[in-house]
Symmetry: C2
Subunit: 246 residues, 2 copies
DNA sequence: GATGGACCCACTGTATACACTGCATATCGA
DNA sequence: TCGATATGCAGTGTATACAGTGGGTCCATC
């Protein structure tokens, strides 16, 4: 029974999940986190009852959680089973384009509204990331990278945009490996973040938007190279980094 | 009992909704359509049992549908009641910015991949809309406008982008009134659509993106004027057009 | 008349029970 | 031995039952 794998993946997050009034919410959020952090791999199959067992609740709240996750395209029903949905390489590349457009908009709007303390905070996040990169802390770098982009989106003062950006970031967490594994990429990222910062500080919204879009397109190019690499050397034993980041 | 209003709003869509294996899906889709088409106004309050009564099902499938709609920000729980969530004028304006960025990306990618038949189809949609506008068919114009943008997004060959665009379009359907009501706007729209078409046909992706973004920003400006208008003359008895478009 | 508290009821959240459906395996016939 | 039909079973979808809770109301007191 593959139940064991399910339990092992869910247990850690489940036990430390705070208290909710709705157990349906708790199941939803835990399962969501487990999928986004790739503790539960794409393609994993299970039933409602399996989940009810792991979470020690009845099928009712499980069903509600599953429905919601299907709505977010994190799970899908295939015939009579529930499957963690996979991301195709094509979808990964698609997401970069959308992310570029949204981040460019965020950078543009952020420039128009930025206050000095906000710029300082954004710079601080980048410096933190610099420290993490220098310490070879890949998981920390990855997290701080997401935080940088999240903060940039918040600076846009556009709640709807922020929601979209976060939705995209959630997908990014599901990408196989990270472009960080590409030699020299972390330093490039820091430099590109700095370029965005400079443009924001200079009040040049067009430059900020362009820098943000370029930044994502650089990542896309790296990703493309990594995918080609995977394709040509399929037996390569995956990079040094374990898959479940964060 | 406000149940009557609920029944009146839901009944028409509910009765013509095709057959689904899951009544939970049927409730979800019907309720979704009723909200998006503004048959059920923002702020409308009801309980799970009310819905169960209207749909003649038990609370279980109703709960699942409601959860999913909350996930899409179409409903919200306020204390102990379910409320159709409202869109603030600020959110409406925010959405234009995101829509502009996404449509610009769609136009750019569409230009890169467009085939002659696709361009012909897009032109045909615009000509249909021209006919609807000339016939003063506001609902038809509105629908064809959405179809034009939907087709543009499909031409991008980016499934993820298409999903985002559709999510945004759904929000657009909930906007109060439409910018079509603004004198002369329909003709402007047709002209702006034509500009995008010309750029695509010329293979000028940058121009297509710029035209698409400009198009949405024009709508945003009109919307801004309408909102200011509402604010200065709050007693104005809404335009000639009934609210539930489509 | 206003304000605070207690009680009650409506509504929600979860569990359980039951019916239905599709698949797998077994059994019978040729 | 192979195929077709029957039968059991696992899993889902819906209904219902039950317990807990928050909000509203009504009364008492200031």
């Amino acid at each position: 029974m593959a139940d064991d794998e399910l339990l092992a993946a869910i247990q850690p997050i489940w036990s430390e999940s705070g208290s909710f009034n709705r157990s349906s919410d708790a199941v939803f959020l835990t399962l969501r986190e487990v999928i986004l952090s790739q503790r539960l791999p794409a393609g994993k199959v299970f039933t409602e009852e399996d989940l009810a067992g792991v979470f020690s609740v009845s099928r009712t709240p499980v069903r509600e959680a599953v429905q919601r996750l299907i709505g977010e395209h994190l799970l899908e029903r295939r015939g009579r089973r529930i499957v963690v949905s996979a991301m195709s390489p094509a979808e990964v590349l698609e997401i970069y384009d959308v992310r570029g457009a949204l981040d460019a908009l965020a950078a543009r709007l952020a420039t128009e509204h930025a206050t000095p303390p906000e710029i300082a905070q954004l710079r601080w996040l980048n410096e933190q990331m610099r420290a993490a990169v220098d310490a070879d802390d890949v998981a920390g770098s990855f997290r701080l990278n997401l935080e940088y982009h999240d903060y940039l989106a918040r600076m846009s003062r556009n709640e709807f945009l922020l929601r979209q950006v976060r939705m995209v970031q959630d997908r990014v967490r599901r990408f196989p490996h990270t472009t960080f594994e590409f030699s020299g990429r972390p330093d490039q990222i820091l430099h590109e973040h700095q370029r965005i910062l400079d443009a924001i500080e200079a009040g040049d919204s067009a430059a900020a938007a362009a820098a943000a879009n370029d930044h994502i397109m650089q990542s896309k190019d790296i990703r493309l190279a990594m995918l080609d690499d995977d394709r040509t050397t399929p037996a390569a034993p995956a990079a040094a980094l374990g898959s479940p980041l964060e």
